[in-house]
């Protein structure tokens, strides 16, 4: 009788959780991974870039939010900021002042500043301030007393860029309107400003009381009036808000500022987060494909283990432990890199940020993103792992064609559901709106389904279309697309997805940049002369012509507000949220003229200047999108407040306007007669040839018409461009992470197919195939895989891009052929190169070596 040790017998665990606590499982996982530790660790790094990007983005967001939280008051400089496009009535100012512990007033407008010594002029934003503003935070100047000095003596504080540009030094004189001002200092940290007063031109500061002497007050259409209150009584602030609710004023508290900053930050973080998320998903696919390769090599070991009595769950646990270890390694490395990125980014940009952000790690956020990275990676590795339970122990017997023991369907469904939930959590983490997060995951699933479908189609076509009459090498190469252990699916998922993302992001970026390029608009204006008073119009026109510049357009401007729509007061509509806020609060600058410009066309109704002058309602033409936002159609009536005078207007026509041309266009356009006597100013546009400077025009203007501002669009566009360049740099940086993940999975895919291809090629070599023939077969296979992956990715990207370009960017839906073809060529080339590198491996090893090692 044999003596099976039945007393001490302790059976191997059959449940996964028990198996995971079984020491043999860990020992086996360690031993089994020994020979491939390096290789597997390299693949674990596939998720590093995704986790790092995710960690850095979220940590930066948390750091900024924390800093804004603490410094919200310093960002606003006051407890309440009230701003308006019109000057405040004295009675209002007095009432508001009575509610404040301390009050400062500011009038800000754009104007030309003249530099007598340099004989030059430049558009600046003038900020006249009185009182003790800012109540919170500091304005830093050089010398440090300069800010206090302007409240005591006549003088001005400038931005450093102006000093550099015109070679100025402290003590020099500049001329603003009629007033000569001494430069008292340079501002290094600017004063908090109203959020709708955006800094396109450099700022200068002076005492509010000096403004009167400039003679510019009241002539500028681009002016803002702001009141800053110090009062930490929330009730009183609330009271002020209700008292003046019907005025078109804007109220902002530190909380409002924090919220609006938060929203801007959210949009940016969400966009970058999506890219990081894609990088993470690509990386996780890379890790999963590495596990798949690893398991392919372990099938016989698993079969032997099962022969020796190892239960399915115990075998599963061995490889689960390995892939968990890979996930931990990758996620931790990514998390640490992310923390490093976060800290160094904050450190590098420390001086360029308006608030002080402490460059210390956000441990909790980093931990969360690392954990999410780990979980997503693990969810993906469950896909290859789920095959373990179907490996039959019968495989260990020679020539034994045992069938799988279990159907995979159920476990695959469980794994798939788990993966879907993990992706939802990941998406939800980036996009807190559950609907959009789900949409994002579903969109990704659709893209993956398309790629999978194309792979199936390709396999089908390769099988059906390959003809015996074709040359052997071509036939063999193409047949590799459908033969067992083909790489068609993996290639489409890696290269195809990569091509899709790359092209889509490139196209979207180009479309966004295209909207703000001027270069090909030869007859569009690039200089706007604004605030030309009626009496100055002829003079300004003559001046422009005298300088050999064309007068492209002249238009009268009248500012107005919409009072009611179809008889309903805008205040009511606003409360009901029926109409976008901007339209109701906006002060419209409208014009009147007899003819339409060539950048606008009437799409509904009739453009007519003939109307019954006896009626009290006047015809108005609305821009078509604005009409849509207002919810009005032809024939509807609007009540319009033109600086205190109410008129009734009936919508007579709708116009489609090409805003991208920078011509003078308006939301509301009236026939000439109606507004002729309304107070307003004129705009004259001209074009300075490219490469020339607007300096002379600006100089002449400031001497003859000091109140007229010359807005140089080229300069503004340069500013916008440089901001966009920075943004696009950040985007490219994050996209770089995605590409790194894409390359990692490409490498994984190649290694996956490598064993199989090596063995086949070695056999072919044994049968007498030359290196050239083997290379040709591989080139055909990899070229086909690369080409079709690229093509599918490109088609998907175009499908996603066209609606975006039409509805979001409103640009031409045709992306051109160059970029898509380039992407297809690049994927094909990359794939062929990879195939050739592989074939070098084949030709370096002796056939016997390869066959024996198999």
């Amino acid at each position: 009788m044999p003596a099976p040790n039945s007393q001490n017998y302790n059976p191997p665990p059959t449940k996964l959780l028990k198996a995971l606590s079984h020491p043999w499982v860990w020992r086996m996982a360690w031993r089994d991974g020994r020979s491939e530790r390096k290789r597997l660790s390299v693949f674990a790094l596939a998720i590093v870039s995704g986790v790092a990007a995710l960690t850095a983005i979220h940590c930066v967001k948390v750091s900024v939010e924390a800093a804004v939280d603490v410094q919200a008051k310093a960002l606003l400089g006051a407890d309440l900021q009230i701003s308006s496009r019109e000057a405040y009535e004295t009675a209002d100012t007095e009432f508001i002042s009575s509610k404040a512990e301390s009050l400062s007033r500011e009038v800000a407008f754009s104007s030309m500043l003249f530099f007598p010594e340099a004989d030059a002029a430049k558009l600046v934003q003038v900020r006249g301030v009185d009182g003790k503003f800012p109540f919170y935070g500091d304005i830093e100047t050089k010398p440090s007393a300069a800010w206090q000095l302007i409240q005591q003596q006549r003088g001005v504080v400038l931005e450093a860029s102006l000093m550099d540009q015109f070679g100025l030094k402290i003590g020099d004189t500049v001329k603003l309107g009629e007033l000569n001002l001494t430069i008292l200092g340079v501002v290094t940290k600017p004063a908090p400003r109203s959020s709708r007063f955006s800094g396109i031109a450099p700022e200068i500061y002076l005492n509010l009381n000096e403004l009167e002497a400039t003679g510019l007050l009241g002539t500028s259409s681009l002016s803002f009036h702001t009141l800053y209150l110090k009062n930490n009584n929330a009730e009183q602030i609330k009271e002020l808000r209700t008292t003046y609710a019907s005025k078109g004023w804007r109220f902002e508290t530190p909380e409002d500022r924090r919220d609006s900053l938060g929203k801007t930050l959210d949009v940016f973080q969400q966009f970058l987060g999506i890219i990081a998320m894609v990088a993470l998903i690509l990386g996780a696919i890379g890790v999963a494909s590495a596990i798949q390769t690893h398991l392919n090599r372990r099938i016989s070991s698993i079969a032997i283990l099962r022969c020796l009595g190892c239960p399915g769950q115990t075998a599963y646990a061995v490889y689960l432990v390995q892939s968990l270890a890979l996930g931990v390694l990758g996620a931790l490395s990514g998390g640490m890199l992310g923390i490093l990125l976060h800290v160094s980014l904050l450190h590098i940009f420390k001086d360029q940020l308006p608030i002080t952000i402490e460059a210390s790690p956000q441990w909790l956020t980093a931990f969360t993103t690392t954990a999410i990275g780990f979980a997503v990676c693990t969810a993906f590795t469950f896909l290859p792992l789920s095959r373990i339970s179907s490996i039959s122990p019968g495989r260990a017997l020679n020539n034994f064609t045992a069938q799988g023991f279990k159907q995979q369907g159920r476990s695959l469904l469980a794994v798939g559901s788990f993966l879907f939930i993990m992706l939802l959590i990941l998406a939800w983490f980036n996009i807190p709106d559950p609907k959009r997060a789900a949409g994002m995951v579903v969109g990704l699933a659709i893209v993956l389904a398309c790629l999978g479908g194309t792979a199936r189609l390709l396999i089908f076509l390769a099988r059906r279309l390959t003809r015996r009459s074709w040359p052997y090498l071509l036939r063999q190469g193409l047949s590799n697309l459908h033969r067992p252990q083909n790489q068609t699916h993996l290639f489409l998922f890696s290269l195809g997805l990569g091509a899709f993302l790359l092209l889509f992001i490139l196209l979207a970026k180009n479309a966004a940049l295209e909207r703000i390029t001027l270069s090909d608009m030869k007859d569009s204006p690039n200089i706007y002369l604004v605030d030309v008073q009626a009496g100055q119009l002829e003079g300004v026109t003559t001046l422009v012509k005298k300088l050999d510049l064309p007068v492209l357009e002249r238009a009268p401007i009248v500012t107005m507000r919409i009072k009611s729509i179809k008889g309903v007061a805008v205040r009511e509509l606003q409360e009901k949220g029926k109409v976008p806020r901007w339209i109701l609060q906006r002060e419209f600058r409208s014009s009147y003229r007899d003819n339409l410009s060539n950048t606008e066309t009437v799409v509904a109704g009739e453009w007519s200047t003939n109307y019954d002058k006896m009626l009290t309602t006047v015809p108005v033409s609305l821009e078509v999108d604005m009409a849509k936002d207002l919810g009005v159609i032809l024939g509807d009536e609007l009540e319009i407040d033109i600086q205190g005078v109410l008129i009734q207007a009936k919508i007579a026509s709708l116009r489609k306007v090409d805003w991208s041309r920078f011509n003078l266009n308006f939301f509301m356009l009236f026939p000439s007669d109606v507004l002729k006597d309304a107070p307003g100013f004129h705009i004259v546009t001209t074009r300075i040839p490219e490469g020339s400077s607007s300096g002379q025009l600006q100089r002449e203007l400031v001497k003859q018409f000091p109140n007229v501002s010359a807005i140089d669009l080229t300069l503004i566009l340069e500013t916008v461009n440089s901001i966009l360049q920075k943004v696009s740099l950040v985007i490219q940086f994050v996209v770089g992470f995605t590409l790194a993940s894409g390359l990692a999975i490409l490498a994984g895919t190649l290694l996956n197919g490598r064993d199989q291809r090596l063995r086949e090629s070695a056999l072919l070599r044994t049968l007498g195939a030359s290196t050239r023939q083997i290379q040709s077969i591989l080139v055909v296979e990899y070229a086909a895989l690369g080409f079709f992956s690229g093509l599918t990715g490109v088609l998907l990207a175009l499908t996603a891009y066209i609606p975006l370009s039409i509805w979001v960017f409103e640009s031409s839906a045709w992306p051109g052929v160059f970029l898509p073809l380039l992407v297809i060529a690049a994927t094909t080339l990359l794939s062929v190169l990879a195939g050739l590198v592989l074939s070098r491996g084949v030709c370096r090893h002796s056939p016997l070596e390869v066959i024996n090692s198999a």
Partner: protein, 253 residues
């Protein structure tokens, strides 16, 4: 005694106590009316036609026949590596058809040893670690000395830490032998154990196989197409086209 009640059988297997009365008349392996049909895309291939046989404890039994006669299929079914299309296999009184895959694995771990034609060592483990797998699987740690002794017995005292690729075919098969006997199985299945080895290398392997079989009292089921090897067994069963065609008893030593 046949336990038809599945839950109770499950319980037994979890307790892992072979009831003494399970080996009715000392029969460790009982095969009744065993058949296997492979179905593939409308084609049916009958590999085994209602095979009946018994293997007694401690007995050595060779199954001989030409390629494709169903030997390996029979072996796989006996070890519970695959499901039969008809009939049943009882291993140490447990009917394999009533056990789950994991219960069959546990039964193999407890009672069965394997030797394969192509050795089937786990390439990522050293010789010593390969031998230890069956013990470690059942949670028996610290048995290195036992494994070392067994490896010394098969002449591999100096190759304990070598990986399979660093060993010759004969050496690999000797490691496999040590692995097959380490947990003192009641039944050893050997599938063409010398099939991949030359005569000179096979000889000591065969000698060891039968010696260990005797010393440990393990029943041996040996599949081979080599009549000389088969002749060393107590009993020789000849197969042809999926049927047992003859059975020959040698005197038991």
């Amino acid at each position: 005694m046949i336990d038809q009640d599945k839950t109770s059988s499950q319980k037994n297997s979890e307790l892992n106590i072979v009831p003494d009365n399970a080996l009715v008349n000392g029969v460790i392996l009982e095969i009744r009316n065993l058949g296997k049909i492979y179905r593939n895309a409308g084609h049916e291939l009958t590999v085994l036609h209602s095979v009946n046989m018994d293997v007694h404890a401690g007995e050595s039994c060779a199954i001989i026949g030409p390629s494709g006669s169903g030997k390996t299929t029979l072996l796989g079914l006996c070890a519970g590596l695959d499901q039969p299309s008809q009939g049943h296999v009882k291993l140490a009184g447990e009917e394999l058809g009533l056990l789950s895959e994991d219960q069959r694995a546990a039964l193999r771990n407890r009672l069965v040893g394997f030797v394969f034609q192509n050795f089937q060592l786990i390439p990522t483990l050293t010789a010593l670690e390969n031998v230890l797998v069956p013990l470690e699987l059942r949670g028996q740690n610290g048995e290195e000395e036992k494994a070392e002794a067994l490896l010394a017995q098969v002449g591999l005292k100096d190759r304990l830490d070598h990986y399979p690729t660093q060993l010759s075919g004969g050496e690999q098969q000797r490691v496999a032998l040590a692995r097959a006997f380490i947990h003192r199985p009641a039944l050893l299945f050997a599938d063409e154990p010398t099939g991949n080895l030359d005569n000179a290398t096979s000889e000591p392997i065969v000698e060891m196989l039968f010696r260990l079989n005797k010393e440990a009292g393990t029943a041996l089921v040996l599949v081979t197409h080599d009549p000389a090897l088969a002749a060393k067994a107590d009993r020789v069963i000849s197969m042809r086209a999926g049927r047992i065609v003859s059975e020959e008893n040698h005197a038991r030593s």
